[in-house]
C-alpha cells in the first residue's frame, strides 16, 4: 500500500510552510520520513540541495531536523532541563554538567518567554508549557527545520496565540518550520506557503496570499464543499428551562436560560470558563447545588447520567477517545449502550440482538455513517464516523435535548460539514441543542443564541447576527461590549 505517492515540495530557510490534508492524506507518513521513522521507497529528501537519507531518528536529528509529534516525547519525571538536553547533556568529564545545562535551558526558556524553573519536573507543567519545552528542546539542538504536528490541538486559544507568535519569531530567526495542522484559520494566519496533500498525493503548493481558504478546503476534500451557513430556524415551545443554577458548589454560578424546540444555544468561553462543567451539570455528571432545572415544565432529575438519559437528555462528550468511544466494542454495541432498555425483550435485562442491528442499520442510513458490518469494531472507523456513531447513541433514546460538547473536534473537514448538516436536520425536526465549543467558526455556523462565560459566570448573551468572533472574544476575554478590538488581534485570536 502506498501511503504517499510522488509528493514533492520544498521548504525555504526562515519560512513557515503549512502542510494540510484530511486524516489519512499522508501527513503523518511524510513527517515520519523527515523524522527518520519511515523510509521512502522512491525519491529523496534534499537538505541544502544535497540528497540526504535518514535511516533512523538520530541521523535526522543530527542533520538539524526536529520533529514535535502530537503525542509528546517528554519524560514526565525528569526536569525541564534534563528533557531539553536529553541525549545531548553537556558533560564535564564523565559527569553531566548540571550547571551549564540549567543555565543554557534558562536562556532558551527566556527566548521563548516561558517563565518556569528549569529544575521543575515536566509532569508538573501544563500541557501548553510542555509543548514549549518540546520547542526548547528543538532549539537547544540548533534545529534548522522544526516540524510541528498539530501543535495547537491541546492548547486553549490564548496559549495557541502565544505558540503562533513563537513560531513567527522562530521563522524570523531563520529557522524553517513545517507546520502540520488542519485548523485552517491558524494556517492562514501564520503560513508563508501552504501545501495540500490528499490521499497521499501532492495537490498544490501555493503562497498564502495566492490561495483562499475555500480553495484549500476543496483541494483537501477533492470537491467543492458547499459553504454552508446557519439556516433560519423556526423555534417551538420551551423545552429546557434553568434558573439560577450553580454547579458543584460554585464552579459555575448564576446561570439562567431557556431553550426552545428547534433551537441551538451556544456556550462559549475560554478554557476554564465553566462551559464544560455546566454541560456536565446538565447531564448529571456534576451536582447542581443551587437553582432549578425544568424539562418540559417538570423538574429534571440530575442524579447521574442515567436520570438524564431517561428523561431525554443526550450527550456527545468533549473528548471522543477518553470519554465516549468503547474501542473494543462493535459499532452496534457502541451505538446502543446508553439505551439498552429500549432493546429489552419481555424479560428485563435480555437484549433483542436483531433489533439492535436493525436500529444500527437505520442510523447508518439516516446519518450516513460509513462502516461495513454492524459487528465491526468501532476503532476501525475514521474519527468522523466514530463521532456519528456517538451522535446516534445520544439520539437513540427519546432524546429531546442534545448536549454537544466540541462535536467536531478531531474530525476532518469533510466530516465536519456533514456533521453540521446533520445537526441542522435534527434541529429542524424539533430537537433542542446546547452546544459547547471553543471553535468560534463552529459557534457562528450553528448557534442561534450564545451565552459567553468568564470564570464560571455568564458574562453576556448574543443573538443571531450579534454573534461574531469579535463580539464573543470581547466578552470572553473580559473586555466589555464597548471596547472594539482591532481586526488584526481578533484574527490572530482564533
Amino acid at each position: 500500500m502506498l501511503a504517499l505517492d510522488n509528493v514533492s515540495f520544498d521548504i525555504l530557510a526562515g519560512e513557515v510552510h503549512a502542510l494540510v490534508g484530511e486524516n489519512g492524506a499522508g501527513k503523518s507518513t511524510l513527517i515520519g520520513i523527515l523524522a527518520g521513522v519511515h523510509q521512502p521507497s522512491v525519491g529523496q529528501v534534499l537538505l541544502d540541495q544535497k540528497p540526504t537519507v535518514f535511516p533512523d531518528p538520530l541521523s535526522s536529528q543530527r542533520a538539524g531536523i526536529s520533529v514535535i509529534f502530537q503525542e509528546f516525547s517528554l519524560l514526565p519525571h525528569l526536569s525541564v532541563a534534563e528533557n531539553v538536553f536529553i541525549g545531548r547533556e553537556p558533560r564535564r568529564g564523565l559527569m553531566v554538567d548540571r550547571a551549564t545545562m540549567n543555565r543554557r535551558t534558562r536562556e532558551i526558556l527566556r527566548t521563548l518567554n516561558l517563565d518556569i524553573d528549569s529544575a521543575t519536573p515536566v509532569s508538573e507543567l501544563a500541557v501548553s508549557q510542555q509543548q514549549l519545552v518540546e520547542i526548547a528542546r528543538a532549539l537547544s539542538a540548533r534545529a534548522r527545520v522544526i516540524v510541528m504536528d498539530e501543535p495547537t490541538a491541546a492548547l486553549n486559544e490564548r496559549e495557541a496565540v502565544r505558540l503562533l507568535e513563537i513560531v513567527r519569531s522562530l521563522a524570523a530567526g531563520g529557522v524553517s518550520v513545517l507546520y502540520v495542522s488542519h485548523r485552517l484559520e491558524e494556517v492562514f494566519s501564520i503560513a508563508d506557503r501552504i501545501t495540500v496533500l490528499r490521499d497521499g498525493r501532492h495537490v498544490v503548493t501555493e503562497r498564502r496570499s495566492a490561495i483562499t481558504e475555500q480553495q484549500v478546503v476543496s483541494a483537501m476534500v477533492g470537491r467543492e464543499l458547499v459553504h454552508s451557513t446557519r439556516p433560519n430556524r423556526t423555534v417551538g415551545p420551551i423545552v429546557l428551562e434553568i434558573r439560577d443554577v450553580s454547579v458543584d458548589g460554585g464552579l459555575v454560578r448564576n446561570v439562567s436560560f431557556s431553550l426552545r424546540r428547534g433551537e441551538v444555544l451556544g456556550l462559549a468561553g475560554l478554557m476554564g470558563s465553566g462551559c464544560s462543567e455546566l454541560m456536565e451539570g446538565l447531564y448529571g455528571l456534576r451536582e447542581i447545588t443551587e437553582g432549578s432545572l425544568l424539562l418540559e415544565g417538570r423538574p429534571l432529575r440530575t442524579a447521574g447520567p442515567q436520570g438524564a438519559i431517561r428523561t431525554g437528555v443526550g450527550l456527545v462528550p468533549e473528548d471522543r477517545k477518553r470519554q465516549s468511544v468503547f474501542p473494543d466494542l462493535s459499532v452496534v454495541h457502541n451505538l446502543t449502550i446508553a439505551n439498552l432498555p429500549r432493546w429489552f425483550r419481555r424479560l428485563p435485562g435480555l437484549l433483542d440482538l436483531a433489533a439492535e442491528r436493525r436500529k444500527t442499520l437505520d442510523y447508518k442510513r439516516q446519518l450516513n455513517i460509513r462502516f461495513t458490518r454492524p459487528d465491526q469494531r468501532i476503532s476501525g472507523l475514521s474519527g468522523g464516523n466514530q463521532q456519528k456513531v456517538v451522535l446516534a447513541r445520544a439520539l437513540a433514546g427519546n432524546c429531546r435535548v442534545l448536549l454537544l460538547a466540541e462535536p467536531t473536534r478531531g474530525v476532518d473537514v469533510g466530516a465536519k460539514a456533514e456533521i453540521y448538516a446533520l445537526i441542522d436536520r435534527l434541529v429542524q425536526n424539533g430537537i433542542a441543542v446546547v452546544l459547547q465549543t471553543t471553535e468560534l467558526p463552529e459557534l457562528l455556523r450553528l448557534a442561534d443564541r450564545c451565552i459567553v462565560f468568564v470564570a464560571g459566570e455568564p458574562r453576556g448573551e448574543l443573538c443571531g447576527s450579534q454573534i461574531t468572533q469579535e463580539a464573543v472574544m470581547a466578552l470572553a476575554t473580559g473586555l466589555s461590549h464597548r471596547v472594539t478590538i482591532s481586526s488584526a488581534s481578533a484574527s490572530s485570536i482564533q
Partner: protein
C-alpha cells in the same frame, strides 16, 4: 462463542484449539494410557476445576480487573462447606459455601470501588487475609467427612464437567445477551465512557467480583469433594492457573473483550499438558515450568499480533 467478536480473540481461540489438537496427538503417540476413557475423564475433571474459576476470572478480566484471591477463597469456601455438611445437610452447606465465596468477592469489589484500591493490591491483600481466615477457621487441621457419599456427588463422574459447561453457557449468555454483560465489556473497555452512558460501573464491578468469588468457591467445593477433606491449604496457586487459562484462551488483560470458549479450551489445554507429563513420568517441577512457558508464549503471540495490526493500520 466469543462474547464480543473481535477477530483477534477468534484467532486466539482457534490458536489454542489447534495447540490442543497437536498436544493431544503427541501424547496419544507417546503414551498408550493417554487416550483411555478413564484418563480422559481425569483430564476433563481437572480441567473443569480450573475452568470454573477461570470462567469467573474471564468476567473480571473483561471488566478491566482481576482477582488474585480466588485460590484462598476456594479453600475457605471448601472448609466452610465441609464443616457444615454434617450439621445442616449437603445442599444448605453447598449454598453456604457459595455464599461465602460471593461475600469474599463482594468485599474485594467494595475495596476496589469504594476505597479506590487497584484490584491487584486489593485482591493480593485478600489472598493472604482469606487464606489466614481459612486456617483460623479450621484451626490448621483437616476436616474429614466420613461416609458422606452424598457430598461426593459434586466431584464424581461427569459432574464437574457438567458444572463447568453449564457455567460456561450461562456466562456466555450473560455476556452476549444481557445488559449486565454489555455493561461489563463497556466498563472494561473504557470506564470513563461507561459512566457517561449511564453505566453504574461500581455496581457492575461489585457484581463481577461477587461472581468471581462464587465461581472460586464452586471450584473449591469440587476440589474438597474429590478428597472429602476441608483443608485451609487447598488450592494454593489456583489464581495463577485461572489467569493463565483466561489469557491462553485469548481474553486480553486490557479488558473490554472476553472469550468464554477460549477459557474453556485453555483449561483443557493446561490439563492435558499436565496429565501427559504425568503419564510420561516427568516431574511436577517441569509442569510448572511448562505452564509458565505456555503463558509467556501466549502473551508474546498476542503482543506480536497487536504490533502487526498496528503496523498495518498506521499509514
Amino acid at each position: 462463542m466469543n462474547a464480543n467478536q473481535p477477530r483477534s480473540a477468534r484467532v486466539a481461540s482457534s490458536q489454542v484449539g489447534l495447540m490442543l489438537l497437536i498436544v493431544c496427538g503427541a501424547f496419544t503417540i507417546l503414551s498408550r494410557q493417554f487416550l483411555t476413557p478413564g484418563n480422559l475423564l481425569n483430564v476433563c475433571t481437572s480441567a473443569s476445576v480450573v475452568a470454573i474459576v477461570g470462567l469467573g476470572m474471564t468476567l473480571a478480566i473483561a471488566s478491566g480487573n482481576f482477582d488474585l484471591s480466588v485460590g484462598s477463597t476456594a479453600a475457605f469456601a471448601g472448609c466452610v462447606t465441609m464443616s457444615l455438611v454434617q450439621r445442616i445437610g449437603v445442599a444448605p452447606a453447598i449454598l453456604a459455601g457459595l455464599a461465602t465465596g460471593a461475600s469474599v468477592g463482594l468485599i474485594n469489589g467494595l475495596i476496589v470501588t469504594e476505597l479506590g484500591v487497584p484490584a491487584f493490591i486489593a485482591t493480593l491483600g485478600m489472598l493472604t487475609i482469606v487464606r489466614g481466615a481459612a486456617l483460623i477457621y479450621t484451626g490448621g487441621r483437616d476436616i474429614y467427612l466420613y461416609g458422606q457419599t452424598q457430598y461426593k456427588i459434586l466431584s464424581s463422574g461427569f459432574a464437574p464437567v457438567l458444572l463447568a459447561l453449564a457455567l460456561a453457557f450461562v456466562l456466555w449468555f450473560v455476556l452476549q445477551h444481557t445488559r449486565f454483560g454489555r455493561h461489563i465489556l463497556a466498563t472494561g473497555s473504557n470506564a470513563a465512557s461507561a459512566r457517561r452512558v449511564g453505566v453504574r460501573t461500581s455496581l457492575v464491578l461489585l457484581g463481577v467480583f461477587s461472581i468471581v468469588g462464587a465461581t472460586a468457591a464452586l471450584s473449591g467445593l469440587v476440589l474438597s469433594a474429590q478428597v472429602l477433606t476441608g483443608n485451609g491449604r487447598l488450592a494454593t496457586g489456583l489464581e495463577l492457573s485461572a489467569i493463565a487459562v483466561v489469557v491462553l484462551g485469548g481474553t486480553p488483560l486490557t479488558g473490554g473483550k472476553a472469550s468464554i470458549s477460549g477459557t474453556v479450551l485453555g483449561s483443557v489445554l493446561v490439563a492435558v499438558i499436565n496429565n501427559g507429563l504425568n503419564l510420561l513420568n516427568i516431574s511436577i517441577f517441569y509442569q510448572n515450568v511448562t505452564l509458565g512457558l505456555l503463558l509467556l508464549g501466549a502473551i508474546a503471540l498476542e503482543a506480536l499480533g497487536h504490533r502487526r495490526t498496528k503496523q498495518l493500520t498506521t499509514p
